[in-house]
Symmetry: C2
Subunit: 514 residues, 2 copies
């Protein structure tokens, strides 16, 4: 058994089932080991941003890491942006980054670069085994580090000779650091505060955004009147009919400030104090009201779900929330197609148990709002703000959950970053319907250009935000990667196409010209 085989066996023993790959020469022994050791399904991406984004989507839905296989520092660089988004989602991922053989590094061969420098911004753990016999142990530590609460990216840099030389066998899996329990004094303190008559809100992030956590939050709300909030961009949330509703913080800073202006006590459960996405001249960066008190119920690495359960008991919460979302299928639109009509159709036809990958940006806002009252589903967002995540995220989620329908709605500008995802969807026959919101624009930047105070933009500036010249044709692009597609220019056409797509299997793209 060589080092690569000892690593793959260690991963299998630890719980890895999938490896998203884009390998090169230095990773060939790892690739070969995937046949010699049973248990890992390799999924090829034609670009590393697909690989890392898919690992993020997989990790969010599976609750455990996929491995990635990346080619040296440059391959890791190509995957950087979606690792950044994954870091902001606290998604567990085990990166394997190939490196030149230990004795070859000194020669500064053309593909040499400082891998650690590119890996460190996104990694909670990083290690470079120097001997083949060290590789298996590093693999076990990587898995445990990725799974350590709240979850993170572990990067194992694998010199080629440590993969091809003889090793001693796999390493024993290592238990990950669990979510720490919140102590009763903290629970009691928050419980007392929530009953002191001040206007309170609980900002939730992480595991507690699944249905059981929201149910607890709804019961606490029933007992205390506290509002329930979530960040604009959450890694994963359960929504729709039967769930407790939650207020999403608006994206734009001044709207977020206004939204929570009257909050006197902000309780954090797995979250941080909210801050503006960007700075704007004369606008606030820190969104918590200046006079409000912040109370930490649970830090991200603490068990927010258990904390909510204890808090519900401490405040004497009733068995039910005041209100659960009722299924509200919006009326379908007719006539010319716009973002509102797209949102109506998606919410109308969304099947129970669907997974939404939301990189809808400006045009996706309607879809986001309408689907809140659709059939129950999981909802995933662009956590790190680096566009080009939605397609790979959907891809990885579909690998993790082959029996669930995945719907990705995506701005056309962002979709171009990682369009290669569609090829992987075709190869793996993944059940993903992608709705491209084709407004032929980086629409958000047209708004931001004004908001940052860059008045009276000239033709050069406007051309940098405009995607009309030439127009992208997503039917051709999808077909070019083996995915069937249709373009819709009326609401009726979109309604029909989206409805039909919900009752077929396999990848499909709908270009919604809005």
């Amino acid at each position: 058994m060589n080092g690569a085989e000892s690593l793959v066996q260690t991963f299998v023993d630890s719980g890895v089932e999938v490896c998203f790959t884009n390998p090169g020469t230095s990773e060939m022994h790892f690739v070969a080991a995937l046949d010699r050791i049973d248990g890992i399904h390799p999924v090829l991406g034609l670009f590393e941003g697909v690989v890392t984004g898919a690992a993020d989507g997989y990790g969010r839905m599976a609750g455990k890491p996929a491995a990635t296989l990346l080619h040296l520092g440059a391959g890791l660089g190509n995957g950087f942006a979606n690792l950044h988004n994954a870091r902001r989602a606290a998604t567990p991922i085990v990166n394997v980054v190939g490196e030149h053989a230990t004795y070859h590094r000194q020669y500064d061969a053309p593909l040499s670069s400082d891998i650690a420098s590119v890996a460190s911004p996104n990694s909670v753990w990083m290690e470079t085994p120097e001997r083949a016999t060290d590789v298996a142990g590093a693999g076990a530590r990587a898995y445990a580090a990725a799974m350590g609460a709240p979850g993170g990216i572990a990067t194992l840099i694998l010199p080629a000779d440590t993969a091809w030389l003889d090793a001693e066998g796999p390493a024993k899996p290592i238990a990950a650091a669990p979510f720490a329990q919140v102590d009763q004094a903290t629970i009691d303190k928050v419980a007392v505060a929530l009953k002191n008559g001040k206007k309170s809100a609980i900002l939730i992030r992480g595991r507690a955004l699944l249905a059981d956590g929201l149910d607890l939050a709804g019961r606490i709300q029933a007992a205390t009147g506290a509002r329930i909030l979530c960040d604009t961009f959450t890694p994963r949330m359960q929504r729709g009919a039967g769930c407790v509703s939650i207020e999403r913080l608006p994206y734009f800073a001044e709207q977020a400030v206004e939204h929570i202006a009257d909050v006197e006590q902000l309780v954090l459960c797995g979250s941080q104090n909210p801050v503006a996405f960007f700075a704007y001249p004369g606008k606030e960066s820190w969104l918590t009201p200046p006079d409000a008190e912040t109370l930490v119920l649970a830090r991200p690495e603490e068990n927010g779900l258990a904390a909510l359960e204890a808090l519900a008991e401490a405040v004497g919460a009733p068995a039910q929330a005041n209100e659960y979302v009722k299924l509200t299928k919006p009326d379908l639109a007719s006539g010319s197609l716009d973002a509102d009509g797209v949102g109506r159709a998606i919410a109308h036809y969304l099947p129970e148990g669907a997974i939404l990958s939301d990189e809808g940006a400006t045009a996706g806002l309607f879809t986001n709002i309408y689907t809140e009252r659709a059939a129950p589903h999981d909802h995933m967002c662009l956590t790190g703000g680096s566009i080009g995540q939605g397609l790979p995220l959907a891809t990885g989620a579909a690998v993790a959950c082959p029996d669930r329908k995945v719907v990705c709605f995506h701005g056309d500008g962002g979709a171009m970053y990682t369009l290669q995802s569609l090829w992987t969807q075709a190869r793996e026959k993944l059940d993903v319907v992608t709705v491209i919101l084709a407004n032929r624009s980086y629409a958000i930047l047209n708004i931001e250009l004004m908001r940052v105070g860059a008045e009276n933009p000239g033709p050069k500036a406007l051309s940098m935000l405009d995607l009309h010249n030439p127009e992208l044709d997503w039917v051709h692009l999808a077909n070019g990667m083996g995915v069937e597609a249709v373009r819709c220019e009326t609401a009726e056409a979109f309604n029909e196409a989206f409805k039909a797509s919900m009752s077929r299997k396999g990848p499909f793209v709908i270009e919604a010209v809005i």
Copy 2:
């Protein structure tokens, strides 16, 4: 005048004419400044790998930097791989990377990351102005750093508020460090060595690979019998009819070792001792024969062209080389299309003054060989080995040289990394013909899998190197981005299509199914 305007004016005054951009909110003031200050043509890329690769192609052909505009650490990450390739080409580039406002950085907003950590592996210079009044000076220093011999990547990290606050005006351009002159003692030492009867070779890289440098090398060869070599992957070389021919080192290490096995003295002119691209079990990493002496004529930061001129004089070189390449148009192929036939047609029809962007990988080897005796042209290679450079490199070269035909021949696997380049070619109406060598495979890895000793690969391994399922359709992909395209499956069809493409203007894609 705000900080962004002071920066743009400083760039214009320094000599920047083009900015390849993929901006976000934090770069909006720089974008607005491109209208307020005349002199810079902005070129939008729909993915940052296009932006940085195009800046590389521009810099190689223009001999001076383009600016880039990238969105924070994640945008820089997306551009990392082609910056890596540019670093290996010593291409001058001035990166402008947007950053959160100075006072906003403390909040760790979702898009925050350690930009410097991602920038440093590829940058010869890096600076983050903290005040708007510091921005112009940083811009002048960035330009000088990028242009300093032998050329490199300068990264200016631009906090948003330093762009939008008032500045004092542009900074005066700063003279870059020139290529240092090689001293006469070194020239004389090499001249004596080349006459000592030992078998010698001169390995050339950098500016001396243009026609005048090769002419000098040919004259030195005539006087001394020294062989003239270049690396497998050179940033830019002039080749074809009328040029002095040069021996290219083979890619595979054992072939390269054999190729120069009898060399007793290796003279470096702007180059390093050659090393293997990758390590392989039981094969050499260091390619210079163990008993050979290495003589440094010129380091990369020294004036190799002037050194060759002085050396020619010192060895009493004749006025002419022994031989100049004679135009040799290969016969056209017929019947089924293969890589050989593609190479014949490209070399046959290549017009004088064309620019070749070569990421042909395995299937491009024939084209590389045949074009050596084609009409005189410039030839650019994948210097850093990170695939996905050829299309953007061609894009940037066409921006730099609008009156010359650019031909890009590219493996299909590598082309998928930065296919968004085609959209920029369409928008800018660039005169680029792209030949996709569609072998539906990461063909090089099928070879490498064997060479690294990973014998008897199984179906999972083979599927990681195979692009058949599904097949990419480059006509659809190109059309989807507004570029006309044709698929050729016979030699006759390819001959005709390539010939026709040489007498039309604007971007065009030929998918050569081989």
